[in-house]
């Protein structure tokens, strides 16, 4: 395969100049060139090595957590549904590593990564997936509905686009009450076609709300390629219709995510209003458990696997001298241990008591 040719027709995410050159190919189902990519990651090393390793470890925890969850589903241990965020780790970690402690985060149906990155406890998350009483929602929410308000994590969402106005409202409250908080709102390319997206962006614009809209464009809304659902190449362009900046970044570049979110947060905190950040990425696994992935080729997947955000970050750390093979093994071991502990915790946790079924409908 020609290394410069992306089987999706998308520009490769590793070279900004090359990305800008590449034009959308007609008739190609997934044709979303990255029209603007922030400066190469290596130019913006944060001062300390520690957060670098923390971010790397957190991405690994998300990846391993999701892989374990997929396995537990296919083994029939976990019931219901789940939407793994495999491949999208850099966005979750990039965004959450920039936010302040009191900021708000709203998530999606594909929210495990966001929650882990925000500081969610993998034990209680796994227990929730197992439907156990110790889970974040005591077994009532499952994969899509977990929250921790102490972390400002207002929850995942079962409705595509459902959390976009909720984040907008949290930002409205922050503004009205003068708390200085920012709301970060995760959603996907599919959600950007919902009315909630358009109505919320407009509200945030007219009221100059401190909200950062983070669109994870992972190329597919379930099986529908973005190009079949949206004719413009970049969803970020839509921000212009509402009168505020939209930026396109390489969502598999953690430092690029951080940079864009940092600028958006600064703008929000200065009272200048919202920003839409479109993170180009790829969902490496299926949409949900049992997705046969007929709508895309294995070559396309292999291509994106090569550009995996975690691999790229590891390479960067090695280049910087922050990581060597031994250290890498140690970090991976830590991540594996965290996931193994989560499964143990979930397995050993008690089932919810059916007698509590009627409790807590109302405050």
């Amino acid at each position: 395969m020609d290394p410069n040719r992306n089987p999706t027709g998308r520009a490769r995410a590793d070279g900004p100049a090359e990305s800008r050159k590449r034009k959308r190919r007609g008739g190609d189902a997934v044709a979303l060139p990255i029209t603007a990519v922030s400066s190469p990651s290596t130019l913006h090393p944060p001062p300390s090595i520690l957060p670098f390793l923390d971010w790397y470890r957190t991405m690994l925890v998300i990846r391993l957590f999701e892989e374990k969850v997929e396995k537990l589903f296919s083994d029939g241990v976990i019931r219901g549904t789940t939407h793994p965020a495999i491949g999208q780790e850099a966005i979750a970690v990039g965004v959450c590593s920039v936010l302040e402690k009191n900021d708000y985060v709203t998530s999606t149906h594909r929210g495990h990564g966001h929650f882990i990155a925000r500081g969610g406890d993998p034990n209680r998350m796994m227990a929730e997936l197992f439907g156990k009483a110790t889970g974040y929602s005591g077994g009532r929410g499952g994969s899509q509905l977990m929250a921790d308000y102490a972390l400002g994590f207002l929850g995942g969402n079962g409705i595509t686009g459902g959390s976009i106005p909720v984040a907008t409202g949290a930002a409205l409250s922050a503004k009205l009450r003068g708390t200085g908080r920012v709301a970060a709102c995760f959603f996907g390319d599919g959600a950007s076609n919902q009315g909630t997206f358009h109505e919320s962006l407009n509200l945030a614009a007219i009221w100059k709300l401190p909200v950062v809209y983070v669109c994870e464009n992972n190329c597919y809304a379930m099986s529908t390629p973005v190009a079949k659902a949206i004719v413009i190449p970049d969803i970020a362009t839509r921000a212009g219709s509402y009168g505020f900046p939209g930026v396109v970044i390489d969502g598999n570049d953690l430092l690029a995510v951080r940079e864009a979110v940092g600028a958006a947060c600064a703008r929000a905190r200065a009272g200048e209003g919202p920003t839409l950040i479109e993170c180009k990425t790829y969902r490496l696994s299926g949409h949900s458990r049992g997705d046969p992935r007929h709508y895309r080729t294995r070559e396309e997947e292999a291509f994106w696997r090569k550009g995996c955000a975690i691999k790229r970050f590891r390479t960067l750390l090695m280049k910087r001298g922050d990581l060597d093979a031994a250290k890498d093994r140690k970090v991976k071991q830590q991540a594996r241990a965290a996931v193994a502990a989560a499964v143990r915790f979930a397995r050993q946790s008690p089932e919810p008591d059916p007698a509590t079924l009627g409790e807590g409908v109302f405050a």
Binding site: L145, Y149, G155, L203, V361
Partner: protein
């Protein structure tokens, strides 16, 4: 105690709650300078500022969802839906977001949100500006539903709704806005959610209703009394939580029941009330219970067709008299 219209009573409740709690704010289409399509918020923007009496674009889903988010973040939004029919556009945010939060996320999630929705017909506004859609929301666990019929209850229940930590659908009625009544001042007016009002005491038949139909039932009862039929009127006021005990106590006393709703018949809240009576007080009934409702048709704009559809005091009187008659024939 002052005599106020239903509109003035609502406005007084809003003003008092805005003054009492800085976290309360109002949001809706044309509620600021214009004062709301029915004038409920008139003057409040001047009093409390445009930040707290906030005009919105025509984006029901967006601003109702924003109200959910604001409520979660510590505010107490009160949203006006200009016509209850427009609530269709925001149902996802009420049903899939607001209603589920507490049950799923537990005590950490608090969603104190009031949706003031203007329901009901009688003004010839036609099929999409006249509906009574309360049953959609009574069907969803996690939402409270309130439908006052008097100025005093309008004020008292709105204050209670605003202070409640749950999402509340607060149904107002176009035809009630001009009605007058005595309204207590300040917090004296407070009416807790979940308590029905015995609007009139009687012995021969129980009439259960809410909103405009409760007002019509009260008027019907006055005339029935002159005809020698003593009707007891239970104004539910709050549909969720439902004060079924007050209904059952009345049915056990009168042994006959007529349920009146302005919504279309099938799947209406009246069916729920009727079923609860059957489940809990079947042995007390001396005649089959009866429902009056809009037939299962959309409402029309024509005055004649609209009148033909919506129950009124005449039909309530007639149905009540028939029910009492059925008993006497036995």
């Amino acid at each position: 105690m002052t005599t106020l219209t239903y509109t003035e009573a609502l406005r007084e409740a809003l003003a008092e709650e805005l003054a009492r709690d800085p976290n309360v704010f109002l949001m809706g289409e044309d509620i600021g300078l214009y004062g709301g399509a029915f004038g409920v918020t008139r003057g409040l923007m001047h009093q409390f500022g445009a930040e707290r009496v906030r005009d919105t674009p025509i984006s029901e889903q967006g601003f109702v969802g924003a109200a959910v988010g604001a409520a979660l973040a510590g505010s107490r939004p009160v949203v006006e839906i200009m016509f209850m029919d427009f609530i269709t556009l925001a149902v996802d945010q009420m049903v899939n977001q607001a209603a589920k939060l507490r049950y799923v996320f537990g005590p950490q999630a608090c969603c104190p949100l009031v949706l003031r929705a203007v329901g009901g017909g009688g003004r010839c506004y036609g099929p999409t500006h006249s509906q009574s859609l309360e049953a959609w929301f009574t069907h969803v666990p996690g939402l409270k539903v309130v439908a006052p019929s008097t100025p005093a209850d309008a004020k008292g229940l709105l204050k209670a709704a605003i202070r409640d930590d749950n999402p509340v659908v607060f149904m107002e009625h176009k035809l009630l806005y001009g009605s007058r009544g005595d309204v207590p001042e300040g917090d004296e007016a407070f009416v807790p959610l979940g308590k029905a009002r015995l609007a009139r005491v009687g012995t021969d038949i129980t009439i259960v209703a809410w909103s405009w139909m409760a007002a019509e039932a009260e008027r019907a009862a006055v005339v029935l009394d002159e005809q020698g039929i003593s009707a007891e009127v239970v104004d539910l006021r709050t549909l969720v939580p439902l004060d079924i005990e007050t209904v059952l106590a009345s049915v056990r006393k009168t042994h006959r029941v007529l349920i009146v709703q302005e919504a279309s018949k099938t799947g209406g809240f009246g069916a729920e009330v009727g079923c609860r009576i059957f489940e809990n007080a079947y042995d007390y009934l001396d005649a089959p219970l009866r429902r009056l409702a809009v037939p299962d048709v959309p409402l029309s704009a024509s005055p004649l067709l609209e009148q033909a559809a919506i129950p009124d005091r005449q039909r309530i009187m007639q149905a009540a008299a028939e029910l009492v008659g059925e008993n006497s024939e036995q």
